[in-house]
Symmetry: C2
Subunit: 356 residues, 2 copies
Amino acid sequence: MKKLINAVDHVITEQLEGMALAHPELKISLDPKYIARADAPLTDKVAVISGGGSGHEPMHGGFVGVGMLAAACPGEVFTSPTPDQMYAAAHAVAGTAGVLFVVKNYTGDVLNFETAAEMVHDDGIKVQNVLVDDDVAVKDSLYTAGRRGVGTTVILEKVVGAAAEAGYDLDQCAELARRVNSYGRSLGMALTSCTVPAVGKPTFTLGADEIEIGIGIHGEPGQYRTTMKTADEITTTLVNAILDDGEYRRMLREWDRGNAMWIEREVIDTPLVAGDEVIALVNSMGGTPQSELYAVYRKLAALCQSRGIRILRSLVGAYITSLEMQGVSITLVKTDSEILSMWDAPVKTPALRWGF
Amino acid sequence: MKKLINAVDHVITEQLEGMALAHPELKISLDPKYIARADAPLTDKVAVISGGGSGHEPMHGGFVGVGMLAAACPGEVFTSPTPDQMYAAAHAVAGTAGVLFVVKNYTGDVLNFETAAEMVHDDGIKVQNVLVDDDVAVKDSLYTAGRRGVGTTVILEKVVGAAAEAGYDLDQCAELARRVNSYGRSLGMALTSCTVPAVGKPTFTLGADEIEIGIGIHGEPGQYRTTMKTADEITTTLVNAILDDGEYRRMLREWDRGNAMWIEREVIDTPLVAGDEVIALVNSMGGTPQSELYAVYRKLAALCQSRGIRILRSLVGAYITSLEMQGVSITLVKTDSEILSMWDAPVKTPALRWGF
């Protein structure tokens, strides 16, 4: 294993120390671990907080800043953060408008963020959890019940962070977040595996002419393996799966603040159809160069045009990664005038910045 | 070779087509190939133009936009662009204030940009060439006479692009560019090689426990190979080489517009010393994740502090790459109030953006 690390046990701590030194606009706590806006606590704005396993940088820590996340909680590599991290982060940043936890749909993350929400609620802080489950690869994988949360997270955190900055209240932020999630669909593929530092060898092995379609961001098994294809063929496979994805039914869990309990209701995500306008993300899994992402974007744009889908905004780069994995994921999020204006609003974070 | 490409012969064209679709604020010509600001030609501001082999993305195309480059000329992978590209780019963007060509010190680039300067001059456009030669690894390598141009290019293009935007004339821009170059020093290392698409196999081979210090951005041989070290040890090696680097004498070639000839004078770059203030770049060679760069930055910050060097600004990410190569380079550029204010000025490009 060749990585720019010191001791395996100190990987996250040392990365956070470096991040703190490089970004004085962030306040980074090492025990428990969280990354927060240095100007927190917020006074009267909703604090949007996310988190998850490390190894997906810049997500989530690189999205902390004005107009996006108030705080992020990094777990160990590919491992959920713990409720005490989320609880401490919430107390560090929350003002009177409460806390919105943005949770990717992995069992550990869901459980720990729900525990944290209950703890925060007990302290009298308004709280709500929203889930991201946008990966069309699998409905049930080895790691999770239901779809995994992947690329839509990036777009959701930008949009809802802007809404919080604009003064939306907690319920409005939660409603918007759920809409963005229901509008988002993603699919990823790997050319190579990655190596988790504590494991020291690749999570999986692909042959010299082999690729995997539908991988998760933690190296979860994909839908299938196939031989190497051209960029156009790979992009067509990913985009067709996203655009041909039908209705998706799932249970939405919501924190009922009045009765201090979780309530569930069934929701149905509707497919993308001709006439829809989208924000498109072409995302490197970590080790794929920017130039190859543009080759993918080229075909994505042509496919969307041929299907009557209009790309209004795009993001091409490494935003939700799996360490040094080579590969690409594509995310399309249907947009409307409200989502679009929140996307365009100013943001100032290490990884996404405009308007400042 | 597993890459997200179609035919090897179309790699650059298709990447440019994707880039054009993703960035409507750019105007991209495919024959000859150049990337320009869509709002060009500039009227009364100096057009800063750069270029070089492809494979280093986002450099240079990702730096085209308001406050940085007016245009960039991409060659084939790791191959100099041709004079006709530079000539066409200059005509596409130049206003009355003329053209500054920013050239990394590789024999082909230097020769072709000098030819282009003569062609542009013959058309009555004011022109000047400035060289970047900041790599302390080697004074003479397989590919070039003198030091290679690496990470300082990123900082120089930002600073001089801001100066052009602020209304500096051509000679002022050239003087500032030469000062930034004389203030900049870099060193890089590789954990892995990269694979040039047209070649189809890795440029060099490193063992499972082997790294190379002092590599160039085209896979040029480095100073030496050694066994795998910790992030702290690797960072210390790079930073010490940069800070211990002494005076560097070289010939500076300048276009004498009055006499239409190249003139040379000897210049001496002075070392970085305690009390200096710097802009620091920790750069991924392409395949190294953001998290590992922060581990390197952590040690870089400590080493600079212990040597009395104050880091005023930093940039941590993939800015000047070698395709999917894993590894890191460090660049320190001494700064002064003028350079710092130009660094902080607004910039709006695909890869660097603030103030917009």
